[in-house]
Symmetry: C2
Subunit: 236 residues, 2 copies
Amino acid sequence: MGRKMFDLCGRDERLRFSPYCWRVKFALAHKGLDCEFVPWKFTDKEAIAFSDQSKVPVLVDGDQSVVDSYEIFRYLDRVYPDKPLLGDGPAAERARFFKFYAERSLAPGVMRTILMDVFNAVHPDDREYFRTTREKAFGRTLEEMHSPSQGLSMLDKALEPMRGRLEESPFLEGDEAGASDYLVVGAFMWARVASAADLISNADPVYAWFQRMLDLHGGIGRNATRIVDIDGGYAN
Amino acid sequence: MGRKMFDLCGRDERLRFSPYCWRVKFALAHKGLDCEFVPWKFTDKEAIAFSDQSKVPVLVDGDQSVVDSYEIFRYLDRVYPDKPLLGDGPAAERARFFKFYAERSLAPGVMRTILMDVFNAVHPDDREYFRTTREKAFGRTLEEMHSPSQGLSMLDKALEPMRGRLEESPFLEGDEAGASDYLVVGAFMWARVASAADLISNADPVYAWFQRMLDLHGGIGRNATRIVDIDGGYAN
């Protein structure tokens, strides 16, 4: 039986910008597992109703379905133990921190930098849903939350531990990329696909790391379609 | 032969506030290794000249001497492999991130909150050295750098990934404390010993974690003498 993952897409079906879906794409590639990536919109709740929840990524692997990017990492290690992602013992415990670092340190700064770009990139069917859910969560309008100057300043501070690590090592995981890199890279792919903003100076060790990440696994990151590749991508 | 560590002390010899020395004290206790902690002042460069550098911690273990808190963790794992600290493979690679998280995310906020308290806590012989070296590094006076409102705001943001992790787990390392906790705890012990400032609200999951850390290994953290325990500790 086949393997497929429901993958958030935007106004053009080739635009795939979900940071959580990107984690899983890197994880599958790390394991060498083929997968069909099924384009999915926020409002396609019916298509994933079988998963008893309403968010992607949803991985369907034969007769198994798994939701939540971190749970998918765990599932992949359990079912395909070669080339461990999280591993076990202290390795697995420490991996967990990178999830929170990505979601709570990096993502808020990226989000405030690219929010209106993401709003522009989502499918027209999803725009009202996106605006309503996000504005409720923020307690402000998208336009008020969008603040590249604040976002870049937040991101600059949040990147400090990555800079320290990447000044000494090509990847967070050492000489080769691993789960810690994949948990974090989603935030950067989100911006790369949905926005033309430059998040990081090219003198930053994080920039060099991201270039290496883009080239991994046959260049799945580098080859991803970007909003800037789409004709009229910036026309509303 | 005995084991001893040169340990920064303050105006009272019982005041031991170096965050780097605290890492090693927790690591030694984790391994169950006895150690004599030799009080040392910044200006006691002669006492550690044998180590070919001028900072503590310096661990002297029989005929070996090791400098740098992280190098001491590695040394302890190599020579005393029971109860690994860093471990190897991905566990060790991921541990390294916590060093940078502590030093580059947490420490700057703590430092700006307690800097004048640290200045007050250092030995009178060290005050001029402390002021001169720090002001040169900062490019500003101690008084200008000391800003609890800015420091606490920086720290509040920097704590986000810890909060996420500690909402689900008693320690960063999972059910039992380990190297990731010890690498981070030094920043909090620094403030606890040298300052009366409250860094974290007692509703914060990081607060509950620090209380658990204080009680570990016979309460080495909780029993540490604090500036507030010293008669006239706040008198200049």
